[in-house]
Symmetry: C2
Subunit: 80 residues, 2 copies
Amino acid sequence: MLKATVYVTIKQSVLDPQGVAVQGALHSMGFSEVEKVRVGKYLELQLDTADRAEAEQRVKAMCEKLLANTVIEDYRYELV
Amino acid sequence: MLKATVYVTIKQSVLDPQGVAVQGALHSMGFSEVEKVRVGKYLELQLDTADRAEAEQRVKAMCEKLLANTVIEDYRYELV
């Protein structure tokens, strides 16, 4: 049993409207020190496997095929 | 200038329909080793402040007031 955590973030060159909205909301609540917000996804996967090397490859494939849109998003993952 | 990363996850006792959907999609793509998926949010905040202790308090307040719904979500944050 392995646990993988996947972080999916919007590429720096791509506009993040959700982040802009969150920043606007924080400003209007008085948190004026917030200069920039980027919103991404955080996934925890529980994997029924003990083979770490294989799991790493499989998680990479999941990210490429489903979890991230690699045109506009970056991803990184960790096995714990 | 400090950077804060905030992780917002759905509480273990709360159903995560998005995670169930992602798991179903992964299964149908042949990733049958995926036993459980939980989907959360990942935020990067850029803060215009140098006071670490104050920033920590402020980020906590942002989480409590806006970024997380503490009834159904947990949050944690790091300053980097």
